[in-house]
């Protein structure tokens, strides 16, 4: 019985960066515990579509295969998520795969997530510790705060929250939820907070956190369960204070 079981896939494909997308259907023999990546590998081994025609193998991105790198994000049955943890047994068929529309398509399901790297640079998502001489150990972080910050640090820049957000689209410059939360993470770090005003001001620039309209899709969609909307509200408070400091002047830019 189970030998004849099949899995149907409807895949949105695109041959080059600027060619038109089209759909192609594939029918694969079912194997227990299949996930979307293993199905794509199956197609790669034998690139024949549902009509029995030979076709090109599908292009996609992957790396860790355990939902920590974020590279394999795509839209699966309408929901942006990681392909490596999308189990075929739990998906309704035909399983529809499409690239995340927020990002430029390179080919098929492979997208260019460069804008997120640019966003990280913009908000200074790092802690500057380099100097011309040995600076010694930094201030200690209270353990419970470290545990709390660890949750925020789980972000893998997968882009799912950007895809879910109604305000991240081609008509808007909105930076997206992940980077607002990253500013909170780096500003919470005892050494990172020495540049907190720089990150906040970068976050308040055009396309910054003010473009959030509170649909709260991001917190529902994030595969890492990061409290994005709490971070957004917290950064809104910090930005309110920062804007007053900028306007009226203050002796407390970093404390």
């Amino acid at each position: 019985m189970s030998e004849n079981k099949t899995v149907r896939f409807m895949i949105t494909r695109q041959d080059t960066m600027d060619s038109a997308p089209y759909e192609e259907e594939f029918v694969l023999p079912y194997r227990p515990n299949m996930n979307v990546i293993s199905a794509l590998m199956e197609i790669q081994r034998n690139p024949v579509n549902a009509k029995g025609e030979k076709t090109t193998p599908i292009s996609w991105d992957m790396n860790c295969l355990e939902e920590v790198c974020g590279a394999c994000s795509m839209v699966i049955n309408g929901k942006p998520r990681q392909a490596c943890t999308a189990l075929v047994d739990k998906l309704e068929q035909p399983i529809r795969l499409a690239p995340m529309s927020t990002f430029p398509v390179v080919r098929d399901l492979q997208i260019d997530r460069e804008r997120m790297f640019d966003s990280m640079k913009r908000i200074k998502a790092w802690i500057p510790i380099d100097g011309t001489y040995e600076l010694g150990p930094g201030p200690r972080m209270p353990e419970r705060k470290r545990q709390w910050a660890y949750e925020l640090s789980k972000c893998m820049t997968c882009g799912v929250c950007l895809e879910a957000c109604p305000n991240v689209n081609s008509k808007s410059d909105f930076i997206g939820p992940a980077f607002i939360s990253l500013v909170r993470l780096f500003n919470a770090h005892p050494t990172g907070s020495m540049n907190r005003d720089e990150r906040l001001n970068a976050l308040m620039g055009d396309g910054g956190l003010q473009d959030c309209g509170n649909s709260q899709n991001c917190v529902q969609a994030c595969p890492k369960g990061i409290p994005l909307t709490t971070s957004i509200a917290a950064m809104n408070r910090a930005a309110t204070v920062q804007s007053f400091r900028n306007f009226f002047g203050s002796d407390h830019q970093v404390d």
């Binding site: 649909s215 529902q220 809104n236 408070r237």
Partner: protein
Amino acid sequence: MADNREFFYRRLHSLLGVIPVGLFLTQHLVVNHFATKGEEAFNRAAGVMEGLPFRYLLETFVIFLPLLFHAIYGLYIAFTAKNNVGRFGHFRNVMFFLQRVSGVITLVFVAWHVWETRIQAALGAEVDFHMMADILSNPLMVGFYIVGIVSTVFHFANGLWSFSVSWGITISPRSQRIMTYITMVVFVALSVVGIRAILAFV
């Protein structure tokens, strides 16, 4: 502040929605509610507002300009969103969508309402109980006014919720949930006040 211009406009938009436009809306509905106590009570209450000193100055800077800024910028904000309620049917995403829909309905309603009352007044008509009773003698208009008022009040009440997130007043999920309850009570209460006033003219 030069490179934070958008931040400033967004926060101004948010602030103006509550102060003064939201406050004016509340006051306006409360004054109209005097219509339930009869024609004379309404005309007296409206007369007090009309008799305020510096009336045109107040109307321009407390109502007209703030509303105009909020409406125009709000329209721009509403149309830069790519709504996805079909894909993400969570409560807050639905509210996000309704905030934009109700904003547009409110704009149509308020424009019509200002035309019918303030502009006509400027053209010589007398704004009083009779004017409203006249307008509302048409059952279609009663429907239009009720939809308009409910939409405006929803937009204001739900706007209070997002205002408190935008300014960082409610941060934790629990505080945001409690604010949802509070703002929905505001929505129901102001809707009752508004609809009762309308029905008093019918």
